[in-house]
C-alpha cells in the first residue's frame, strides 16, 4: 500500500520521481509553519447544504485529530474525502452520525447541523439521528443472520413497518436499489455472511437504505473489494445520489474522481482544499493537494 506520510516521503530519496529530494524537504518545512494558520482553499461551503460543519475540532485524549474544519455537504451531492492515512478523514466522517461517541477518550467540538438541526447537544437523541444518517463501513459487516433479517433489522427496530407485507416490500425495495435483488431473491433466508465480499457490501448498503436515511456515510466502502465489485458499488453510488446525500471517504483518487461532485482533501487533521472534483484533479489550488494527487506522497 502506498500510504507513506509526508515525512517518510521526504526522507526516502527513491520516491523523488517528481523532483529532486532537496526542494521537497524545503516544502515540508514551509508546510509545517503554515499549518497553524491554514485556511481551507476552494469552496468548502454551499448554499443548498444538507449537513453543515463549522469549527470542528476532534481530540483523542491529548492528541488533536482534527483542527478547525468547516465544511458543507449539499443535498443530493456526493462529497469525497481524500487524503493520506491518518489525516482524519474517517474521524471526521464518523462525527457526522456520532459514531465517535462510543470511542473512549474521543472529544468532539464544533457546530454540526443536519437540515439546520443540531447533531450534537444534550437534547439530541442519537437513535433517530443514526436512522437519518446511515453508515456503510470499510469492511462489509453483515449481521450473522439471514439476508432478509439483515435488511429488515433497521425497519424492525425503528418500527417503520407495521405489517409483514410492508416489511417484505421494504426489504425488496432496498435490495433492488442496492442492485442485489436479482442475485439474492431466491435465498433471502440464507445467511448474509455467505455472500461474496462485494455482495456483502451491497447488502450493507441495502441495510442502510432500508430505514430511508437522508444521508449515507461511506467509510472506504470498496477497500476490501476487487475491481469488479468496486465498479458495481460505484455505479450504485451514482444511482443513490438521486435520493440521498452521500459522504464517502476513499483512498482511491480515481474513485473520488469517478463518483463525487466535490472533493475535500484532508492533511494531518486539516481540511486543505475543497472544490469541484474536476477542479481538484485538474487544477488543484493548494500545493499539498497537488503533491498528493500527483502521487508525490500518500
Amino acid at each position: 500500500m502506498n500510504t507513506m506520510t509526508l515525512d517518510a516521503a521526504a526522507d526516502t530519496p527513491t520516491s523523488g520521481k517528481a523532483g529532486p529530494a532537496q526542494p521537497q524537504a524545503v516544502e515540508k518545512e514551509s508546510v509545517n509553519t503554515r499549518t497553524k494558520v491554514r485556511e481551507t482553499v476552494g469552496k468548502p461551503f454551499c448554499d443548498n447544504a444538507k449537513l453543515r460543519m463549522r469549527n470542528v475540532n476532534v481530540f483523542y485524549g491529548e492528541t488533536q485529530a482534527i483542527h478547525d474544519v468547516g465544511l458543507d455537504i449539499g443535498r443530493n451531492e456526493v462529497v469525497a474525502m481524500i487524503g493520506p492515512s491518518g489525516c482524519g478523514k474517517s474521524t471526521f466522517l464518523r462525527c457526522l452520525n456520532r459514531m465517535n461517541d462510543t470511542i473512549e477518550g474521543c472529544r468532539v467540538e464544533g457546530e454540526f447541523t443536519l437540515d439546520d438541526e443540531p447533531i450534537y447537544g444534550p437534547r439530541v437523541d442519537v437513535v433517530p439521528l443514526r436512522a437519518r444518517v446511515g453508515m456503510v463501513f470499510q469492511k462489509p459487516n453483515p449481521f450473522p443472520k439471514s439476508i432478509y433479517d439483515n435488511v429488515a433489522y433497521g425497519p424492525k427496530i425503528h418500527g417503520i413497518a407495521n405489517r409483514r407485507a410492508e416489511l417484505d416490500e421494504i426489504v425488496e425495495d432496498s435490495l433492488r436499489r442496492a442492485g442485489l435483488w436479482s442475485e439474492v431473491k431466491d435465498r433471502l433466508d440464507k445467511p448474509g455472511t455467505g455472500l461474496s465480499g462485494g455482495q456483502q457490501q451491497r447488502l450493507c448498503i441495502a441495510r442502510a437504505i432500508a430505514v430511508s436515511p437522508e444521508v449515507i456515510l461511506m467509510d472506504e466502502p470498496c477497500s476490501a473489494l476487487d475491481p469488479i465489485a468496486t465498479a458495481r458499488i460505484e455505479e450504485l453510488i451514482d444511482e443513490l445520489r438521486k435520493n440521498y446525500t452521500i459522504a464517502i471517504v476513499t483512498h482511491s483518487m480515481q474513485q473520488a474522481a469517478r463518483v463525487s461532485q466535490r472533493t475535500a482533501y484532508f492533511h494531518l487533521g486539516h481540511l486543505v482544499e475543497v472544490n469541484d472534483t474536476e477542479t481538484v484533479f485538474t487544477n488543484p489550488q493548494h500545493e499539498l493537494t497537488e503533491a498528493y494527487i500527483t502521487g508525490r506522497f500518500g
Binding site: 462510543t102 442519537v126 463501513f137 450473522p144
Partner: protein, 433 residues
C-alpha cells in the same frame, strides 16, 4: 548497517555457520517435543491410575449380597391381625425374620450362636418386609420367599472371597463363615444389583446407605446456584463490558473480581455462616444457603468467562448495529449476546461443575450433618455428593470403602457429563461468519 557483514563473510561462510548451528537447533527441538510428550504421558498416567483405583474399589458397591429366606407372615409372631398403618408401625417383623433364620439353621442353639445367626441379615430387613406387606396386605398369614439384604460384614466377607480363598473375615466368627459358605453353595446367598445405593439416603449401616439424598441435595444446591449466579454474572459482565466507562473504579472492580476468583472456598463458607445463617437466620444445612455460598464462589468464574465471550464478539457487529440506530440495549441483546452466549454458557457450566465438586464451604454451613431423609425442598436439611463422600470416607465400616469410591464414580460421571455438555453446547451454538 548491513555492509560490514556482507564484506567480511562470503556466502559460503554464512552457510557454513548456519549448518554448524543446525544440529544443535534440531536437538533442542527434539528435546522440547519429548518433554511435551512426557508431560502429557504423566498426566494421562495419573488419570488412568486414578480411574482404575476408583473403579476397582468402587464397582463392588453396585452389587450387594442378599439372602433368600422363606418368610412366614405369622399373625402371632407379628402381633397384628389386620394390615393398616398403625399396626404395621409396631408389628414385630424382626421376629418373623429370626423365626425363618432359626428354621434354616436349626443347629444354632445357644444365645451367642443365635445372635450370630440373626446378624446374617441386615438390620434394615424388617423394613423390607413391612413394605412388602403394606403393598400386599393379603400376604398376612401366608409364606413367601424373599431376598433380604445381608449384613455389611457378610457382604464384605462374600466380596473378599472373590480375591482370595480365605477371604476377609473381620468380625465374622468361624461358625457364621460356615453358614455363609453353606448359603453360597446352595445359591441362597447371591450378589444382586444394589438398588438401595440409588434409592436410599445416608445410613450408619453400609448396606442401607445410598446416595439419593446427597444427589437430590446437590441438585437443589446447584439449581439455587445456577438461578442466582448465571443472571447476576451475565448482567455484571454485560454492564462492565458494554456500558461501564473505563476508569479507575471499573479497573478496581475488575481487579477485585479476579481476586475473588482466587479466594479459598472455605472463606466463602465462613462468610455464608456469618451472613446468611447468623445474620439473616436462614436454616442451617439447607441447599438454599449452600446455593447462596456457591453463588458467591462461582460468580467470578462466570463474570470472567462471560466478559471474555463478550470481548470476542467482533466490534464490527456492534458498529453495524449502532450505525443502524440501534440503542445500546438493542445492540447487546440482538447482536452481541447471541454471539457471546455459547461462551457464557460454557463458563457457567464449568462454574457449575466447580460448584458441584465443592466441599469446604458447605462444611461451614452445616451441610456435613448426618441426614437420612431425601430433602423435599431448598430449605430442608440436606447434604451434597462431595460431602457425602467425605462422610463415608470417615466411616469405620469396611463396606463404606467401596461405597465411597462408588459415590466418587457417580460424582465424576456427573462432572464429566457436565463438561461434555459444555463442549457440545459450544459446538452446537457457535455461529460462524
Amino acid at each position: 548497517m548491513t555492509d560490514s557483514t556482507q564484506t567480511n563473510l562470503t556466502q559460503e561462510q554464512v552457510r557454513e555457520r548456519i549448518a554448524q548451528r543446525l544440529a544443535g537447533r534440531h536437538r533442542v527441538e527434539k528435546l522440547f517435543r519429548s518433554l511435551g510428550i512426557a508431560s502429557i504421558a504423566f498426566g494421562v498416567l495419573a488419570v488412568v491410575v486414578l480411574f482404575t483405583d476408583i473403579i476397582s474399589k468402587g464397582s463392588g458397591a453396585f452389587v450387594q449380597s442378599a439372602i433368600e429366606l422363606r418368610v412366614h407372615y405369622d399373625q402371632q409372631v407379628l402381633g397384628i391381625d389386620k394390615v393398616d398403618d398403625e399396626s404395621l408401625a409396631w408389628a414385630n417383623f424382626e421376629g418373623v425374620i429370626r423365626e425363618s433364620l432359626r428354621e434354616r439353621f436349626p443347629e444354632a442353639q445357644s444365645r451367642g450362636e443365635k445372635r450370630e445367626l440373626y446378624s446374617l441379615v441386615s438390620t434394615g430387613a424388617p423394613f423390607t418386609l413391612r413394605d412388602r406387606l403394606k403393598a400386599n396386605p393379603e400376604l398376612l398369614g401366608k409364606t413367601e420367599t424373599v431376598w433380604l439384604a445381608a449384613d455389611d460384614d457378610v457382604d464384605t466377607f462374600v466380596k473378599s472371597l472373590d480375591d482370595s480363598k480365605e477371604g476377609f473375615r473381620g468380625r465374622t466368627s468361624e461358625q457364621k463363615a460356615g453358614w455363609i459358605e453353606q448359603l453360597l453353595d446352595s445359591g441362597e446367598l447371591k450378589k444382586r444389583f444394589n438398588t438401595t445405593f440409588f434409592t436410599n439416603g445416608d445410613s450408619r449401616e453400609p448396606e442401607q446407605a445410598g446416595i439419593r439424598a446427597a444427589l437430590v441435595g446437590s441438585l437443589f444446591t446447584l439449581l439455587v446456584t445456577l438461578a442466582l449466579s448465571f443472571p447476576i454474572g451475565v448482567a455484571a459482565a454485560i454492564y462492565l463490558e458494554e456500558y461501564a466507562p473505563k476508569n479507575r473504579w471499573t479497573d478496581l472492580i475488575e481487579v477485585n473480581i479476579n481476586n475473588l476468583a482466587a479466594v479459598p472456598s472455605i472463606v466463602f463458607g465462613l462468610l455464608g455462616l456469618a451472613i446468611f445463617i447468623n445474620f439473616f437466620e436462614l436454616p442451617r444445612s439447607a441447599p438454599l444457603v449452600g446455593g447462596l455460598v456457591l453463588t458467591l464462589m462461582t460468580l467470578p468464574t462466570i463474570i470472567i468467562s462471560s466478559r471474555a465471550a463478550l470481548k470476542a464478539v467482533p466490534p464490527s457487529i456492534r458498529e453495524a448495529a449502532m450505525g443502524m440506530g440501534a440503542s445500546r440495549m438493542q445492540v447487546v441483546f440482538h447482536h452481541v449476546l447471541p454471539l457471546a452466549l455459547p461462551g457464557m454458557l460454557t463458563g457457567a457450566i464449568i462454574g457449575m461443575a466447580q460448584a458441584l465438586g465443592e466441599t469446604a464451604p458447605l462444611l461451614m454451613i452445616g451441610m456435613v450433618a448426618f441426614i437420612v431423609d431425601v430433602p423435599g425442598g431448598i430449605t430442608d436439611p440436606a447434604t451434597v455428593l462431595p460431602v457425602q463422600i467425605f462422610l463415608w470416607a470417615d466411616s469405620p465400616e469396611r463396606a463404606f470403602v467401596e461405597r465411597t469410591s462408588a459415590a466418587i464414580m457417580v460424582l465424576l460421571s456427573f462432572l464429566i457429563a457436565m463438561n461434555a455438555s459444555a463442549v457440545l453446547l459450544r459446538k452446537k451454538l457457535e455461529r460462524r461468519w
